[in-house]
Symmetry: C2
Subunit: 159 residues, 2 copies
DNA sequence: CTCGGATTGTTGAGCTTTCAACCGCACCGT
DNA sequence: ACGGTGCGGTTGAAAGCTCAACAATCCGAG
């Protein structure tokens, strides 16, 4: 089974449209947050995750795992967020290898300030562009793709 | 109309799933290309665009505009692609400001070598995960979002 | 013809991400 | 207790992207 199943004309068109959308949306949201709130989208995600956690605190590994971020990336990011005073690190008492990341009041305030603009952008550019049926379909499509993505990063097909 | 239209529980769930998918897919494809063909996805896109152009040649601005890339990004990228010998620059005879980017034979060969793996990844992770109806829906959804994205980067609503 | 503004493309600095190497600590078997 | 294995997290270098500034050229108005 060495044969490549190339994309048909129609599939190519859909693929191009899809990839253009993902790039366009992420760029749009990233720019909006950077411009209005001086943070990249990935940092916004970190602040959100922390704000929803009990005690606004998460282990580094949980924070990394919650979203698909690598440990290294998160470590750098949290270092930067510490510099601007939005996050603080605390050592874990029960496991001295571990680290907690804690959202500071300043960080929470920054998130509160950033949220309206971001949510508005998401609504305008994503939900307002779609019919209710399309929104539903998008949800199901996303879950279907996610299932296929997570099933293995190992090498072999999951079916 | 200063009120923020927050996302409902359901909308949040869909949004999260969608953003996770886009991040997951782009990371997956980027890794695959980097691992198997030593190029990031953005470079792959540049090679594809050039390979489809007449004479495998495009003006820098056309190349940038074809995909949503900034001039700066493209300039850096082409510089790098020139270093590895996949692209060559030529000055434009009719407009001395302009530059052509030309795909070399080595670049075309690299693209031919990279394509099967990439297309296979796209098929496995995207198309195989969806039903035919979902594929159709994804195409329409993408076009709808694109229309909303392009209508203005200026500032004001397009409706 | 000439000047001013717009266009094309490049450059360098700063920031984020990735990759590989690494340290310290926990856990487990002996 | 001891030693190995592996986890949790950090670090530094290299690579890519963004942003702002810039150089060179083109174009149009006077």
């Amino acid at each position: 089974m060495d044969e490549v199943r190339w994309l048909s004309e129609r599939e190519q068109e859909i693929w191009r449209a899809f990839i253009t959308v993902t790039e366009g949306l992420t760029e749009h949201f990233d720019r909006q947050l950077q411009r209005d709130s001086a943070m990249p989208y990935t940092y916004y995600e970190i602040l959100v995750a922390l704000s929803e956690a009990p005690g606004r605190t998460l282990r580094m590994s949980e924070l990394a795992g919650a979203r698909g971020s690598s440990r290294s990336r998160l470590s750098h990011a949290v270092a930067r967020l510490e510099d601007v005073g939005w996050v603080r690190r605390r050592t874990c008492p029960t496991d001295k290898r571990g680290s907690f990341a804690v959202l500071t009041d300043a960080g929470f305030a920054a998130l509160e300030a950033a949220a309206p603009g971001h949510v508005t952008a998401v609504r305008e550019k994503l939900f307002d562009a779609l019919t209710p049926e399309q929104v539903t379909a998008l949800g199901e499509i996303s879950k279907a793709i996610l299932a296929g993505l997570n099933c293995q990063e190992l090498s072999d097909p999951c079916d």
